[in-house]
Amino acid sequence: MRIMSPLIAVLALVLLALVAAQGPGGQALVGIILPYLAFAVFLGGVVSRVVNWSSSPVPFRIPTTCGQANSLPWIKQNKLDCPSTKAGVIGRMLLEVLLFRSLFRNTKAEMHEGPKLVYGSSKFLWLFALLFHYCFLVIILRHLRLFMDPIPSFVAALEFGDGFMQIGLPVFYQTDAIFLGALAFLFLRRVMLTNIRYISLPADYFPLFLIMGIAITGILMRYFLRVDVVAIKQLTLGLATLSPPAITGQIGTIFFVHIFLVCALLIYFPFSKLMHLAGVFMSPTRNMINNSRMVRHINPWNDPKIKPHSYASYEDEFREFMVGADIPVEKELPAQPAEEDAAKVAE
């Protein structure tokens, strides 16, 4: 059920788009109004989530220490996994954002006969996640050809590289196939591995199905059903320059399904786990310098009137009561007065 409801939701979106694309009013709604709305929700949502996150203080240093911290000079520090300088943190973040370094450390746990628990390296998730994200990036950048005129040369270069194999006409893009393959892996991983299936929620499946829907409609549009690209570029360029033209009706239905699903993704994005787009930059376990033994960090909301109270002065203040309650103390009560008391009693 956790897998069926997101599937049904995506199919319902497709159906809705198919119905809307039948009339000129629906086409204008899906082709012009919805994209603007979705883009505004996406930008506004991302900004508000980030601002919301940044209003939470992170008063203490909480970097994940994945290696030897800065210590005595003869102990070698792991400068990337336990950075004590800004440069180290920048290096750590770059590797994290560009190469998913923490995913590279992904391990698997298996139970063997014995019973014996065995841990092993598991790089497939890292590999396919990397392929998925980079293909998605290339695909998004390739789409700039529909939103810019004249087209920047790097977009043309990307297209050339992507269609390097010159298979078929229109030329086949390798990223399309790798993207679908990686998506299939990410989906099958959730379905086939029982422990992953157990923790998978509709919020995990929905984005997968939605992105699959976008990829499949895009592939259908390019290679199988084929649409009038010039008519589409007229619309998309109009959208990008804030002067959308009237939709002439020569654009195929599949285009409206594609753009409808993209809009759904944009609207869903800021309110979902997809916000790791911004979250990866803001995660304090990665972006903080591990220097708590070199720099004194003061909690921003501390009351300046409350002075530091060390344990030694605490014990000085309460030693009598501590001794009375049999709590061990570092410095015993002075012996002198006790003897005087005993002398008084004797008198």
């Binding site: 050809r145 529909l146 977009v155 050339f160």
Partner: protein, 126 residues
């Protein structure tokens, strides 16, 4: 809000990147490519809408049929006009100016067909 010094510039950068197509100076948007149509002929080998979306598929079909299956060079339009199934001797016979016909849309949509890797380019384009 904490970390303003880093988060606000990052958000501005994000918004700037996302809205690139809006502030990118796109040329005259209403200017659609107008491929020059041949004056002497009124009918193409297939309906206009099909030619717009799928002419590349047709060219591939001709190539496969003629070169690999030994198919005929002669085709007939819906009205019975005979034509040569060939890029250089068929298509380019009517659409003789590559620059004014092919290139208008291809440049607009950033499509770089590799027809001319092998075929001789028409003289106008040289």
């Amino acid at each position: 809000m904490y970390g303003k010094g880093r988060i606000i510039p990052a958000l501005i950068l994000f918004l700037g990147l996302m809205t690139t197509p809006i502030w990118y100076k796109s040329g005259d948007v209403s200017k659609m490519p107008k491929p020059e149509k041949p004056k002497d002929y009124t009918e193409c080998v297939a309906p206009v809408q099909y030619m717009r979306t799928s002419h590349m598929v047709l060219l591939n079909e001709w190539r496969d049929d003629i070169l690999r299956e030994g198919g005929t060079r002669v085709g007939k339009t819906a009205n019975g006009t005979e034509y040569v199934r060939s890029l250089q001797n068929g298509c380019m016979k009517c659409h003789s100016d590559k620059k004014k016909f092919c290139d208008t849309c291809h440049i607009y949509a950033s499509v770089k067909p590799y027809c001319w890797d092998c075929h001789l380019q028409p003289k106008e384009a040289m």
